[in-house]
Amino acid sequence: MTHTQETPLLEVRDLRVEISTKAGKFFPVNGHNFTLNSGETLGVVGESGSGKSMTAMSLVRLLPKHAARVTSGSIKLEGRELLSLSRSEMRKVRGRDIAMILQDPQTSLNPSFTVGNQITEALRLHAPGPRSTLRERAIEALRKVKVAAPEHRVDSYPSQLSGGMRQRVVGAIAISCAPKVIIADEPTTSLDVTVQAQYLRLLKELQEDTGMGIIFITHDFGIVANLCHRIVVMYFGRIVESGTVERIFAKPAHPYTEALIAAVPKLHGHKGRLRTIPGSPPPQSEQPPGCPFAPRCEMADTRCFTELPPTVDADGDGEHLASCWRVAGQ
């Protein structure tokens, strides 16, 4: 938790997002703290509804209008506070400094425009140039994401491409402006396993080439293990555990993390029954006084139900944090 001399690429402090509905207020992002360095991949893991996507959208300040807003905290990109930028300044950050890859390749490309058009649109906004140059750069971007015959594909419409191809195009859009950070929000969930693996390899290669930071959002610990350097685990709008991949896999501090890891099918491990976590998270509108995971936790005691556990340093070196009475109480 100590500030290093070097400014991290992205630094999120005490970020809190509030959603107010008729049913009441709740916080899908509740006091997040994490950092991302250049060339690093940060995995954000959690079940659906844990606030992962909301975290991603709050980083680019694209929360659903009216319904959700950031109430406190700070997001610093290379030391620059994003939350205090004007709307047009923020628009310049999007796509140029922070790019995103969305979940669903089926719907994340606009069916009315050609692939090239959609790539150059970002370029036009952030790095204008003559038409022919833009087109060249779009083709270049496609080539980078290993799209075959990019000169040809650049004039295709999304409906003419396969799902994997479309997701590559989304990737091409993301990298076209050479962003510093890419947020990938479950980019592979709707792809089949082989395509998924290719895609992840591609991301890794791109990162090695450009040194960008990647925030990789997923519910799948299996992917995280191969791809990420560090992990934050989210549950019910809170970061319950964070640390390096090695630490967390070796010694998960939070029972939830443990359960998630146990849910990953092991290719070479024992053939035991796949574990699933019993129960489901509490409804968003109910804010339990204690640890939100307590009702599903096999190790919960009375304090877990009544008091929110503090975030503590699990290993004593600041590289592994967790919010659990089991750790805090030690």
């Binding site: 036009r124 204008p128 003559p130």
Partner: protein, 542 residues
Amino acid sequence: MFYRDLYIKCTPKRLLAAVLLSGTVLTAGGLTNTASAEEKVVVAVSPLGADSNLYWATTGAFIFPSMQTLVGNDAQTGKYDNSQLAESWEHNEDFTSWTFKLHPAAKFSGDWGPVTAADVVHSFNLHIGEDAKLSGISNFRKMEITAVDDHTVRFDLPNPTPNFLFSHAGRGSLVIYSKAQFDAEGLAGYEAAPAGSGPFEYKEREVGQSLTFSTIADHWTGVSPEFDEIEFRWVSEPSTRLAMLSAGEAHAVTLPRDLQDDAAEAGQKVLSSSEGAMQSTMLFTGQFMNPEAEENRDARTYAWADQRVREAVNRALDRDAILEVLYGEGVRALPVYTMDPRFPGFSEEIAKGFDDAYGYDPEKAMALLAEAGYPDAFDTPEIPLVVTSLAGNPEFAQMAELVQAYLDVVGIKTQMREQDWATGNTAIRGFTADFVTPMRNAPVRPSALGVQIFFTKHASPHLDIGDPELNDLGGKLISETDPAARDEVLKAMFTRIFDSYAHIPMATVPASVVVNGDLVEGWNFPGASSSGLSHYHLIDLK
């Protein structure tokens, strides 16, 4: 860059823009300034049956102040006068030969020369041509016309025709066109701008919209209107016409009767023709008075084949109340349809006996029905009352609703049938009609013409009610020439119709026009033309 890109590539936008642009251009194309003459009188009327410069090609609905007929009508009394082309006329003893002398000063507009007998003969021949659709033109086909000299024409008729002047006056069948213009330009000349001899000159026609005439200075009749131009606008919606009047866009408009009250309340002036112009009635269809079986159906299947039923229908109606609702106060009830005090055959006795015989008496009506074999209620199928809103007579619908309500009280069930004119006529012509017809609203015409058309087989066989007595009398009327004897025959016919309750007479109604009180002082017209309007030069502006 970005925008040029958009412009070149996004074709739908360009297409849409082109479509919209063309709409705007078209719209702007219509942006012609309506240069209105300083003194232009605008008269809005409901569209005529035909939009044509050729009188004979219409069925008679025609507004053309530039054209003249042979005989005129007095603005006050409606009596025939020599205000049109004929200076004087005479006929032989048995009314089979009529001679007209033309005004020597009469001339056509636009340098087409004086009006001569040759023009009359020429026009006559046009009128009886193949394409003629004029009402009553069939009689013309049997006549011979001779130009006696330059300013004298003679008509020789096969039958005695005491009412011949009617064919030449306001509702006449012969309008005089210029032969010189025809020889020079042919029909196309008429279609473009027919020369006429009236105090106005044809200016232009916007098909479906308007017809404009300009005033002639130093007209041969000495008539000099107060204004430079008169424009007739065809506007179907009565409320739109009233709006035009209220907005000061029109000087005068025709309106349905009940809207006239409203206009009067709103401060407009209602001007009525000096004489009754229209007669309204309801007619039973079929040869219900034929004692023999009718051609296609048994006459007795009509409920109204029974005179008691017909009387009951007439007795059930409170005419005073109905007429007040429909036409306002001061409209006379009509004792017999086609009878009029201005024409031969008028019977004082009938007029006096009307209240006794036709007066409102629901008890009597019910008693009659009971006597006729309908003790509790009228158990035959409902009598269809035909309503033709499409024909543009809004008061018919109200009349029908009122009649229905009154008949309902005495137990006669009716059913309103919305049906267009042609369908009804087809049924009547095919002798399959089974209804009480539209409330005929026909122009007043000489009794001898009307009674033959609507009650006997002699003029229009399909309207014959099948009464042998009436048909005999009608036959006599055709050959009778002695005025007194004709009068007697007509009286006998009217009495027969009256006594046998052969129809449901309603009222004689003047033609009327509503004028904007701020613009128009007054206007005298006799109500003797098909539109009811005439004598436009008498429009008196403020």
